[in-house]
């Protein structure tokens, strides 16, 4: 059989299969008990946790649990090694995910598209379910095989198992197909140029909005004026939603083909900017108001494009709030109900349009901390005898922009040329409070090691709270060649004594 080459074909006892299903899936065995004689299907994730870079591969196995050979069409099953029909039911947080995969119109099947399975045998294939169902958010997903009704002979294929998979992180939104008609023939040439101009601006302001959110230092986000104006009081979860939204909006505007239809098939079109269907990315219907407003600024053409893209389920699935159709309404919503504001399409638009201008913090707005460095280090004697006292000198400087509190400096002995706080401490002393740009001369004396040999010596300053850079708090190293104690005089004396006794 041709299919042998492609699929792992394994003979299994029915009882073994049932047992495996019971172990693998919560109620797989229970569901299987309801199956008619025919093909049992099991779904097995190939990983327990999928991260953002993993293809969402699952293994789907079809087992003949009847006493007779069963032949069936591989179309619309996993045995095509890709999902070409909606044969799975995938849900997350109580929501069924829509099927966004291929729908294939085909010629009548040929004989080669059928597969035959002997009793107790199974065939399996792995497929990427992320290609056909919008699984972008981290969390748990439940997969049920609902199947397509196809058969030859009397065999019926029915759901037999439930599997769960866990996405450990959000995944980049991936779309299966690009929309080709960019601007529909319903748009006039003037409208085309208005759309193109607005698209270019939208791409620009979406990127700026994305960068503004991503670059704002975490500690300054709670007071980020531009964020709190449109999304209300800061919460890490909502801020992260805003980041996800603009990552996706910006990515869509840069990488996807946006479809425009100027027919505006809607009642009362005179008050309408635009409308979309959330499940139809990235097509939008643009209406008279859209063409009347400015290309940029508040409630502009470019902002409307951002508003509409935020609606798509593959982006963030935002909503319209009749109470927030202008800036003052959106501000009120942000103040009174931040969890609604983070779903408000106009909030995304106004954040991106940023008119009037509101600031977002950057690293430049962080308080300038102190930064202690060792600007010089020297030893009086590089070849001391064991346990000999050696004078050391260092200059400690605060090169930061605010004063540093008093801290400790310690002389460190290292077996290698890199000095760190992990090296042996020989002595320590106090560095006083240092203003920005101030220096301190640190002098001390240390005892050389008791074992002769080659060492390195240096000084480290203990970091202070809020210090900008702490990797520059130790000096470079100075080699220290520790020699044995001078014992030649007693030896000569002993030698002389020996000669005398003779």
């Amino acid at each position: 059989m041709k299919a042998d080459k492609f699929f792992s074909l394994q003979a299994r006892r029915v009882r073994q299969t049932t047992l495996l299903l019971f172990i693998s899936f919560f109620y797989g065995a229970f569901a299987q008990a309801h199956l008619p004689l025919g093909v049992a299907v099991s779904i097995e994730p190939i990983k327990t946790n999928y991260d953002a870079s993993d293809a969402l591969m699952v293994e789907i196995r079809y087992t003949n649990v009847s006493d007779l050979p069963i032949q069936f069409l591989m179309r619309g099953t996993a045995l095509e090694k890709q999902i070409n029909e909606d044969f799975l039911e995938i849900s997350s947080q109580g929501r069924l995910l829509p099927y966004v995969g291929r729908h294939v119109k085909r010629l009548p099947p040929t004989e080669s598209e059928y597969i035959s399975i002997e009793p107790d045998q199974s065939v399996s294939a792995t497929v990427d379910i992320g290609e056909a169902y919008p699984m972008f958010e981290k969390g748990q997903y439940h997969i049920v095989y609902k199947g397509a009704s196809f058969s030859s002979g009397d065999a019926s294929l029915k759901s037999s198992s439930v599997a769960s998979i866990e996405l450990s992180e959000d995944r980049a939104v991936k779309l299966l197909k690009r929309r080709t008609p960019i601007i529909d023939a319903s748009c006039s040439s003037t409208q085309r140029s208005q759309i193109n101009q607005a698209l270019a601006i939208a791409e620009n302001i979406a990127r700026s909005a994305r960068d503004a959110l991503n670059n704002a230092p975490v500690e300054l986000r709670p007071t980020a004026r531009r964020y709190t104006e449109w999304f209300g009081v800061y919460s890490p979860g909502r801020y992260s939603t805003a980041q996800t939204a603009f990552n996706r909006i910006s990515s869509a505007l840069s990488n996807q083909v946006i479809g425009f239809d100027c027919t505006c098939d809607i009642n009362n079109r005179e008050n309408v900017f635009a409308f979309v269907f959330a499940n139809d990315p990235y097509n939008m219907n643009v209406c008279p108001v859209f063409f009347r407003v400015a290309p940029s600024g508040t409630d502009s053409r470019s902002g409307t494009i951002i508003h509409e893209i935020s609606h798509f389920n593959v982006v963030i699935g935002s909503d319209d709030f009749s109470s927030a159709l202008n800036q003052s309404g959106s501000r009120r919503l942000a103040q009174s109900n931040p969890s609604a504001a983070i779903r408000n399409a106009n909030a995304f638009e106004y954040f991106a349009e940023n008119t009037p201008f509101l600031p977002m913090p950057t690293v430049d707005d962080l308080p300038r901390p102190s930064d202690l460095v060792v600007s010089s280090f020297s030893v009086q004697k590089q070849n001391p005898a064991v346990e000999e006292l050696v004078g050391v000198s260092a200059v400690i400087a605060n090169v930061g922009e605010s004063e540093s509190p008093s801290t400790q400096a310690s002389i460190r002995l290292s077996p290698d040329a890199v000095i760190s706080l992990n090296d042996t401490q020989l002595s320590q002393g106090v560095i006083p409070l240092l203003g920005s740009g101030a220096m301190f001369n640190f002098d001390s004396a240390v005892q050389a090691p008791s074992e002769p040999g080659e060492y390195w010596i240096g000084i480290c300053v203990s970091p202070v709270v809020g210090e900008l850079v702490t990797t520059n708090n130790c000096s470079g190293s100075v080699p220290l060649m520790v020699r044995p104690r001078a014992t030649f005089l007693p030896s000569i004396f002993l030698l002389l004594l020996d000669e005398t006794s003779d």
């Binding site: 849900s91 119109k105 809607i266 009642n267 900017f273 269907f277 959330a278 709030f321 009749s322 109470s323």
Partner: protein, 140 residues
């Protein structure tokens, strides 16, 4: 709020909604995105389908509309004690498959002139779809 059973036989889900003003003064409300508009322009309903292992949300697939801010003439007025009735075909705004049981719940919002949210008690409507509905999950 009720679903027109005669329309279900034809494969359509038509919602008959009535708003009563039980207050003493005139009620002013914005019909945009509510059952009292001439077409579905917002997800004012929560729709669920009953499956073997529980209820599942049926996502809204209708249009989402960006409009200019409403002006006084966009609002409707309802005298004290009177009511306003509207029929709205919601068939295309959600996927309704044949032989399924659906539950509709009004989730609003409905706004007054000053954008305070009007309290609307919407009952829950349950209905089953007939074979006249187009099969779901079919090839194109």
């Amino acid at each position: 709020m009720e679903v027109d059973s005669s329309m279900l036989i034809e494969g359509r889900v038509v919602l008959n909604s009535t708003i009563h003003n039980r207050g003493l003064g005139t009620l002013v409300f914005l019909p945009w995105g509510s059952p009292f508009e001439s077409s579905v322009t917002a997800p004012f309903l929560k729709v669920k389908v009953r499956k073997v292992n529980g209820l599942y949300d049926v996502p809204y697939e209708g249009m989402l509309v960006k409009r200019r801010a409403p002006q006084a003439e966009d609002f409707l007025e309802l005298e004290a004690g009177s009511s306003y009735k509207r029929s709205l075909d919601i068939t295309k705004s959600y996927t309704f498959c044949p032989g399924q049981t659906y539950i509709l719940e009004y989730q609003g919002p409905l706004y007054s002139l000053d954008f305070t949210e009007l309290l609307v008690s919407g009952e829950i409507v349950e209905f089953s779809t007939h074979e006249a509905f187009p099969p779901c999950g079919q090839t194109e």
